[in-house]
Point group: C2
Chain length 239, copies 2
Amino acid sequence: MATVRRTPLNRDRVLRAAVALADEVGVAGLSMRRLAQQLGVVPMALYKHVADKEELLDGMVDVVIGEFDTPGPGLDWRDGVRARVLSARRAVLRHPWARQAIESRTRRTPTVLAYMNSVAGVLLDGGLSADLTHHVLHALGNRIWGFSPELFDEPRDENAPPPTPEQQQAMAAELSQRYPHILAIAMAATEGDLSRVGPGCDEEFEFRFALDLLLDGAERLRRGGWTSTAADPIATLRD
Amino acid sequence: MATVRRTPLNRDRVLRAAVALADEVGVAGLSMRRLAQQLGVVPMALYKHVADKEELLDGMVDVVIGEFDTPGPGLDWRDGVRARVLSARRAVLRHPWARQAIESRTRRTPTVLAYMNSVAGVLLDGGLSADLTHHVLHALGNRIWGFSPELFDEPRDENAPPPTPEQQQAMAAELSQRYPHILAIAMAATEGDLSRVGPGCDEEFEFRFALDLLLDGAERLRRGGWTSTAADPIATLRD
DNA sequence: ACCTGAACACCGTTCAAGT
DNA sequence: ACCTGAACACCGTTCAAGT
C-alpha cells in the first residue's frame, strides 16, 4: 500500500516540482535524484517526462517566463515596454535561481518567442521602425561589461557581525589608497556612511535607471528617423 | 622515472591550465579530476593550491580580467570607457566560457576592484559626479530583461544542412502567424532574406549600439547636472 | 612542502525488466 | 503507459599516509 501514488507524474508536475525545489535549494542543489525523491519516485521515472536535465532546465525557464505579464496597450510605448520588463523582473526575483538559468539557456522555446513578440509589438506599434526595434531588443538584452557588477548589492552574510568602526576605518583607508574612485562612489551612494554599503544601494532604482537611459535614447533615435545604415550610431545621438 | 615532473605545481600554473582546459572543453567539461589529469597529477594535488572548485573558478575569472586593457587618458570620457569596455569584451570573447563564469561569480577580487576603479576613474575625470558615476556603473552591468536575447545570433548547428526554400517558406509562414512582430524584425535585419538569419546579425554592432545609448544618455544627464534625488530619473531626460 | 591512495557521498544516464 | 533495480562512468572532497 505504500506504493500507491494518487496522481501519476506528468511533465507539468515535474516542472512545477523542479521550480519549487530550485526556489528552496538553488540550481546548484537541484539534481535529478533529489527532484525524484521530492516526488516520491525513483530517479529514472523522471526521464519519461523530460529528455534529460537540460530539457528540465529549459522547461523550468518556460515556467518562469509564463509568469510574465503582458499588459494591454498603454499610452506611450515606453510605458508599455517598461511594464513588461518590470513584470519580467519581478518574476525573476521571485525565483532567485532564474536569472542564471535563463542566461545559460540558448533554446528558443515558444514561450520565449511569445514574450519577445509581445515586446516587439509594443515597439512597432509605438512607431519605431523594424530596424530600430531590432536593435533596441538587442540593447535590452546586452550586458555591457564582462564581470559581475554587484559590487555593493551582494547580500551580506547574515551570520557575520556588522563591521566595527575600526573595520570601517580600515576598509576606507584600503579603498582610498588602492581604489580611490570606488571610494568616491561608495561615499556618494551611502551619503558618507560606509556601514550602509550593503543594503544602501537600491537595486530597483539602478535597474530603472539603465532601462530609462536605453528607452530614452531609442525615443530620440525614433524622432530623428535613425537607421542602422548610418555610419556610426553614436553620431546621430551627439548634438 | 615516470614519476619525475620538471616544474612543481603552483597556483598560477593550475589557473592557467584550467583556463586552457575550459577554452577547449567549456565550463561544463571542466572538472577537478580532468584538470589534474591534464597536469599529470592526482586530483587531490590541486587542493594544495586552490581551496575548492569555487576558488578555482574565481581564479580563472581573475585571469581573464587580467587580460583587460586599461588604456591611457583619452580626449573624451566616453571614448575612454568605450576602449576599456570593448577590450573587456574582446577578452571575454577569447574565452567562450568566461561570460557565464563571470556572471555566476559574486566574489569581489582585487582584480575586479582594480578594473572597476579604472572605469570609475575615467567617468569621474570626465566630469561626472560620483552619484552619476555610481549609477552609470550599474547601468553598464544591468541586463534588462530576464531571458537569453540571442534570438538570431545563436551559432547554427554546423552539421545541419542549410534550410531549403520550402523550409524557409514554412518558417516565415509560422512566424507571420504566431509571431508577426518577430518576423517584421527578422525581415528588416536580413533585408528580406531570411536564410541569412543566423550569421546576418552583427553582434558587435548590437553591443556598441547598447553601449552608446547608455553613454550618450549619461552625457546628457551630466550636462543637465542630474542627481539621483530627482523624483523620476526619466523626467530629466524627457524634453 | 608537496603529492598520493583509498574511500565517501554524491552525480546523470543506460538498459532490461516489471506491472 | 508508466515506473523500477541494478549498473556504469563519472563527480568534489575527506583523511591519513607517504616522500
